[in-house]
């Protein structure tokens, strides 16, 4: 019963599919949940909009509220011009949210607890920002590091800070999501294993005392549900803010 709290993050091979160069490509537990997330998101929206009704049903409401929520976030942070990135932002938000929520189901794998995944998503966002920013604004994109209205003698310092803050964006974006999911799930596992430990160590009395970590576990589960949503939202809103920089550089 006293399972290693780290074991839940182990990537397990299901089938080895082949090799690309020296790298082994396998269908893993992580891959299964990513595929499931795509199926749930796309299938869910398609099912919700199949019998389009004027008065939305429960599922259509969920889909529409999510749509309006993401669209509102994009519009308020990146303006109407930012709406061209709406499919990307919507994909990121729903992908992270659904995978985080999958992670809350006991026994399910938490895909976003891996730095490779969050790092790749952060890289996608930052590369989109840089490529679109250069494509749309050309050299003016570098005004991002040259804020207006700053006295000239502090400018070198400001430019260094701006460049450092820009470079730290992919790092903070990926590590925030990864670390939050990882830490939350380790905590859950630790408190859950306390119950088992107490029960095996103290017998019936252990079951009684075990109510304490059990209550803690319930509270933490509620907190983790919030964190699962919040981290998806934070990733989304930061993506929008960075895209706003690409659309309107020079503050």
């Amino acid at each position: 019963m006293a399972a290693d709290p780290i074991a839940q993050f182990q990537i397990k091979k299901i089938v080895t599919l082949g090799h690309i160069g020296p790298y082994e490509i396998a269908l893993t537990n992580s891959a299964v949940f990513m595929i499931a997330a795509v199926v749930v998101i796309v299938g869910g929206i398609l099912a919700a909009t199949r019998g389009q009704t004027l008065i939305p049903g429960r599922f259509q409401s969920i889909a529409e509220i999510t749509y309006e929520f993401v669209a509102g976030t994009v519009r308020s942070t990146a303006g109407n011009e930012g709406m061209k990135f709406f499919p990307l932002v919507f994909s990121l938000f729903t992908f992270i949210l659904v995978l985080n929520m999958f992670g809350m189901i006991p026994g399910f794998f938490t895909v976003m607890s891996h730095i490779a995944i969050t790092g790749a998503l952060a890289a996608l966002v930052i590369l989109t920002v840089i490529i679109y920013g250069l494509y749309k604004n050309g050299f003016k994109f570098f005004k991002l590091f040259w804020p207006s209205g700053v006295p000239l003698f502090v400018m070198p310092l400001i430019v260094v800070i701006e460049i450092l803050s820009f470079l730290s964006r992919p790092l903070s974006l990926s590590v925030r999501l990864f670390a939050n999911m990882l830490a939350g799930h380790i905590t859950l596992k630790v408190f859950a294993s306390f119950i088992g430990l107490l029960a095996t160590a103290l017998g019936v009395a252990g079951w009684a005392v075990g109510i304490l970590p059990f209550g803690m576990l319930i509270a933490l589960t509620a907190l983790e549900l919030l964190v699962a949503f919040l981290q998806a939202y934070v990733f989304t809103i930061l993506t929008c803010l960075y895209l706003n920089d690409a659309i309107h550089p020079g503050h």
Binding site: A7, Q10, A37, Y67, E68, S91, A116
Partner: protein, 175 residues
């Protein structure tokens, strides 16, 4: 939890799972496939359908609101025209009443004046007749008085007075 115990012996030796580099190619491979699939399916199929449903409803609501406001304007216009017709009719009736009243008053006035004129003329004629009758009577009185006075003087004195002096005396007495 039960399945975790089988891998525990492996993980004890292996590094922390998120930092196991050999799992990265598989993870990234599936991430690219899944995320590209998600992006394409959402942007091409799912999101247009969803936005279509939302826009449909919004345009329907906007259309309904527009119809409602148009109908309200129409009913307000109808009420205004009804009230205007009512006011017109009332004003017309009032004008008609006052006109006929004025006409009746004018007619009565004319009739009264005509009657008055007739009476006045009759009165004047009567007065003239009285005056002529009076003067005629007065001239008869003078002749009678002169004759009578002449006869009285003749009877008393036995002499016939001169007609001229009698007339002078009578005139002096009459006036």
């Amino acid at each position: 939890m039960a399945t975790n115990t089988t891998t525990q012996s492996q993980t004890a030796k292996a590094p922390f799972p998120p930092f196991q580099g050999e799992t990265f190619p598989s993870q990234l491979f599936w991430l690219v496939i899944c995320f590209v699939a998600l992006y394409v399916l959402l942007s091409r199929v799912a999101l247009p359908r969803l936005s279509h449903a939302i826009e449909n409803r919004q345009s329907r609501i906007a259309g309904d609101l527009e119809t409602a406001s148009r109908l309200r304007n129409e009913s307000e216009a109808a009420q205004a025209s009804y009230e205007k017709a009512l006011a017109d009719a009332r004003a017309k009736a009032q004008a008609l009443a006052s006109e006929s009243q004025a006409k009746a008053a004018a007619e009565a006035e004319a009739q009264r004046k005509q009657l008055e004129d007739g009476l006045k003329a009759k009165l004047e004629a009567a007065e003239k007749q009285i005056a002529s009758t009076k003067s005629a009577a007065m001239s008869n009185v003078r002749g009678i008085a002169v004759d009578t006075a002449g006869l009285i003087v003749e009877r008393l004195t036995g002499k016939t007075p001169a007609k001229q002096s009698v007339e002078r005396a009578v005139d002096a007495a009459l006036h």
